[in-house]
Amino acid sequence: MSEPANTAPADPRPAAGPNWQPRIIGFLCYWCSYTGADMAGTARMKYPPNVDIIRVMCSGRIDPELVTTAFARGADGVLVCGCHIGDCHYITGNHKTMARMPLLKRILLDMGIEPERFRHEWVSAAEGEKFSKLVAELTEQVRRLGPLDWPGLMRARGVGHGMDLKAWGE
């Protein structure tokens, strides 16, 4: 009780150790971007292992909530990929992505998440190389920023620490 009222707890995020690897979640549409990622594989293009891909049918299915959830659950970065505008398998599904992600970006900024941690790009089924470069680039950007560790941050700020039922005993 003796610390001054206005001191927030020390930044709880772990310093990036030598073995630390950025954790990035990628949401890809099936017809263009996921196939593009496959193409990178077929062409044996090497790129960092840090982006874990979740496949949806269309980038229009990517609810911004998935992005914030990923960060909240401990992702250091998020990647969203869809077909190029005008090239959508579902005609205009990616038009929604085109509007949602920039709006989401403004909210992430307000929440103090560096813009470099969140990318949304158009990757066609033919752009395996573009995809592999994209992943390498994003991984590097996030690595430079260091860990985000949102769960650690929230816990350090008291979210859920009262959940320890024994603690009621005061």
């Binding site: 206005n6 949602r100 008291g158």
Partner: protein, 329 residues
């Protein structure tokens, strides 16, 4: 649900308590608004703690046996250590703890402070402020030594937490403030044991559907061509405000209020929190509104998005503490 309390009221009189934390008191007013039904409430319940109403002190509550209180209505979020301590005390003394009102449920408006740092908040209040006179740069301290002993005030927390962030909560009554008719229905249900006890975070006194379900304004299924602000343009009466370009959060907001604001020509500001089983009201609104834009190119989309003055403050006005991210880094 029966509105005849004789069905609902148990034989023994209920013991009820009410406490406010980081909130404004609108919640207490809303309880009052149940009007004549207060009479019925009195028949079935005694007040055993209610600082603003009766002269019971913390000491009295400490002396109650655990589980002594049947229904404890806690309004307000957790902004400081005292509010958390009282929350734990009341949790221990209560059979059912009810988060009453938007602040206790989702953080409410005070949780907008989660977009700012504690330092910033103290600066704005005690240092960098046009009328402040604080040459010594004094700030409130949890403990201040005085000639005859230490003076204590609660510790200011780094961010606003919801009641359920610090203790388990049985029921939630959303709204800023909750609408009285809904509240009365809920109280009867609780008193009559019609909702299972100890069922964590069951939302009562509200509906699942979004505000549009109750809103009378007409939808024309047009995309949003530009965003407008209430003070610079006059909405066309009778037509959905969102389609007209006013930032109405109704589609992403739980109903129960009766869609009063749109009826008064003002966009819904989301005071009942997210609808249905949605967790994050802000992203729900981001997704919906962005999908409605009349944009064919990325440039057009960006142009429209730039017209939204304050997405975070608008879409999370009452629920920041419940959002996935909860607070600024």
């Amino acid at each position: 649900m029966s509105t005849n309390p004789n069905n609902a009221a148990p034989v023994a009189k209920l013991k009820i308590a009410k406490y406010w934390a980081a909130s404004c008191g609108g919640c207490d007013i809303s309880l009052l608004e149940i009007g004549p039904n207060l009479l019925e409430l009195i028949k079935i319940a005694d007040v055993v703690f209610w600082p603003c109403a009766a002269d019971f002190k913390y000491e009295d509550v400490r002396n109650y046996p655990d589980g002594y209180i049947d229904l404890c209505f806690y309004n307000g979020g957790i902004r400081n250590s005292e509010q958390e301590e009282v929350a734990r005390l009341l949790r221990r003394k209560s059979k059912s703890l009810i988060a009453y009102g938007q602040c206790a449920v989702d953080g409410g408006i005070p949780a907008l402070a989660n977009l700012k740092t504690v330092k910033g908040i103290f600066n704005a209040s005690y240092h960098d402020n046009p009328s402040i006179d604080n040459p010594a740069g004094v700030e409130p301290q949890p403990v201040t030594p005085s000639e005859y002993g230490d003076l204590e005030i609660p510790r200011f927390y780094p961010q606003v937490l919801r009641l359920k962030d610090v203790v388990p909560v049985d029921y939630e009554i959303p709204g800023c403030p909750p609408q009285s008719d809904r509240v009365w229905e809920a109280i009867l249900a609780l008193a009559g044991g019609q909702v299972p006890l100890q069922n964590r975070n069951v939302k009562v006194a509200c509906y699942d559907k979004a505000v549009c379900d109750e809103c009378k304004l007409e939808k024309r299924n047009v995309r949003i061509k530009e965003f407008k602000r209430v003070h610079t343009s006059i909405p066309e009466p009778g037509w959905c405000l969102l389609e007209q370009g006013y930032l109405c959060v109704g589609p992403a907001t739980r109903s129960g209020c009766g869609a009063l604001c749109p009826a008064a020509g003002m966009p819904c500001e989301g005071c009942y929190g997210p609808a249905g089983d949605v967790v994050d009201q802000g992203t729900a609104m981001v997704s919906a509104i962005a999908s409605m834009l009349d944009a064919r190119t990325e440039e057009q989309a960006q142009e429209l998005i730039d017209q939204i003055a304050d997405p975070t403050g608008t879409f999370y006005r009452f629920t920041l503490a419940s959002s996935h991210l909860k607070a600024r880094k």
